[in-house]
């Protein structure tokens, strides 16, 4: 049976990537060793990690003013590293609260300085991105932080705060990195755990304007300083070599799809197909404001929890897995990251129509 894995992350990877990695798993380019057995300082792996960096630079249009880093610890580690490195002593940072992950980022930042909440949709259960033209950024913030896509609430920024006061904009893009074209120069730093759009868990992509990394106080440990990893080109210590290798293959695959613009077109179609079914139905209900809906995580409810349980069970029986909503909010969640083909979304939509007919 064909399986479509709608897991929110770790998520499915492109079939071509999985097959290539399997083929060369025990013998990478005639070395007689697998990638994960190679010294990280040998020429074969150096080519892999440099190729991965080059792919990121090309695909996202990253200039030499920025460093591209492959770190460990996921977005959760960045929640702490960011304020440790970038919060000015006695300073403040602006955070928008659009859900669980934003709140976790805020909690860690408070250990290192004052957090001013620039906007929040908490009062309405995170059902939208707060309207950006109402935000009132203050001069002198160390940075402003947003979460570009919210996997649990199913919301996504479709425009970014236009900061013209010198405050660097920082985005946690863990769940929509490389899913759509952005202008890197609008950001001071972005970061993303790889396990949704870029590869397996265990590697974190950080793209940071190099001058920002120089702010870091001398009291921060070596491993937790962006400047360490910039200077050593992500090789201060042993990087998660196999995860970086898969990220390299995934970014090769994105290039083959016409780059991020090509991927974005497919992603737009996928989410439109799914939202159309939800919009046309009174059986399926998406609680998110239409202008804030995520193109990565499509959340919806059925008329009862019993029907939701039945939906999940029958979908799994037809090979559609990972559709259970986050335990904090319940319901159904279809995560349709880059690697999910349109055929997967079409299969889901067919199943949804059929299920509604039988149970609606």
């Amino acid at each position: 049976m064909k399986v479509y894995n709608f897991s929110a992350g770790p998520a499915m990877l492109p079939k071509e990537v999985m097959e290539q990695a399997q083929d060369e798993f025990c013998n990478f380019r005639g070395t007689g060793c697998g990638v994960m057995e190679l010294s990280h300082r040998g020429s074969q792996f150096m080519e892999v990690i440099q190729g991965a960096e080059q792919n990121v630079r090309e695909l996202m249009g990253v200039s030499d003013d920025y460093a591209v880093l492959f770190l460990q610890g996921g977005a959760s580690m960045q929640f702490a590293m960011l304020p440790m490195n970038l919060m000015a002593p006695g300073g403040f940072a602006e955070y928008a609260d659009t859900g669980v992950w934003s709140s976790k980022a805020i909690k860690e930042a408070k250990l290192f300085g004052e957090v001013k909440e620039i906007a929040s949709s908490k009062a309405t259960n995170y059902d939208r991105i707060p309207v950006i033209r109402h935000w009132k950024p203050e001069a002198g913030a160390s940075y402003m932080h947003i979460t570009s896509n919210n996997t649990i609430a199913g919301t996504q920024y479709h425009a970014f705060p236009p900061l013209d006061n010198g405050t660097p904009l920082i985005a946690d893009m863990s769940s929509d990195i490389m899913s759509r074209v952005i202008n890197m120069n609008d950001f001071g730093m972005i970061y993303a755990g790889a396990q949704k759009n870029l590869g397996p868990s265990g590697v974190t992509l950080v793209i940071i304007r190099k001058d920002l990394a120089e702010r870091c106080p001398a009291t921060v440990p070596t491993m937790l300083r962006y400047s360490t990893h910039i200077k050593e080109e992500s090789m201060f210590n042993t990087p998660p070599t196999f995860s970086v290798y898969i990220l390299k293959l995934v970014t090769d695959w994105i290039k083959g799809k016409g780059g991020i613009a090509g991927i974005e077109e497919i992603n737009d179609t996928k989410s439109e197909v799914l939202y159309e079914v939800i919009n046309a139905s009174s059986f399926y209900n998406n609680p998110v404001y239409p202008e804030s809906r995520s193109r990565m995580n499509v959340v919806f409810r059925l008329p009862s929890e019993e029907l939701e349980a039945k939906f999940l069970k029958e979908a799994a029986a037809e090979g559609m897995t990972g559709l259970k909503g986050h335990r904090l909010v319940g319901g159904i969640r279809a995560s349709i990251y880059n690697a999910m083909p349109l055929s997967g979304v079409e299969a889901l939509v067919d199943f949804m129509n059929e299920f509604e007919k039988k149970n609606g």
Copy 2:
């Protein structure tokens, strides 16, 4: 050509492990998904990580007083996390300096409290483990830290400081974890990057006495507190799932070899075979005190750097790779971790005898 990879890490993995991982790479136990595509909170992966913990507990005899954690960032991150969590406010810790990695650990600890050097072999180029009966531990240290095996110098502790003053002993065991039987109860905590004896880079094994984790000051970020990961059983955030899976397979493999006692016997034979050739020769020279020699990393010099370059080139041509010594010390280094079979050491020894005959 049969390849023997003597890399110091990331290092070779057992052939059986590599083949099994390749077999089920795209379809893990009939799920239709690879392990790296599975949700970390799904039952399939939960079984993997719980199995990995169970294996570690069984193999190393870890009691319930200790937590077994799978973290990220390697030993380098532990150099910082350890003092952040365990150094008492205004306190001091004792560190033995046996090489580059100890020195790095000391550097990070100094950010969080006083470091008292309990012993050092720096003055003699780290050619030995300082004689333990001469150490003078003080009462009241937050902990004592050692590096159980030193990959660059080629030294290893063959006994551990018998602390009877209540100070917890902490060991960086990155390069000899599970290579020999130890008594876990002699230690307050041990840690190890996986990429030498346990699996791929990207996962760090930490075994810590649970009461020690409670010391952590409230100012330490959530991700950097051992208590966070103990409470959440290594699932506070997305763990490096594929690396944990390989660690599970490697520990299964160790169990199949008669556990750590079985592996230790093979390791003893391997290192004896190699040291015998070096001892019997005036062509090959190992600079380490015999009683401090490592059974994991056997370092040796040839009469000239030219001969060393020739040795490396000809060895590589015969499929013996990764033999170059660390860039800080030069020479030759054969890393013979658990996964290196005796046949690999025998091939190396044959080559060495042949090379000496031709060039000696």
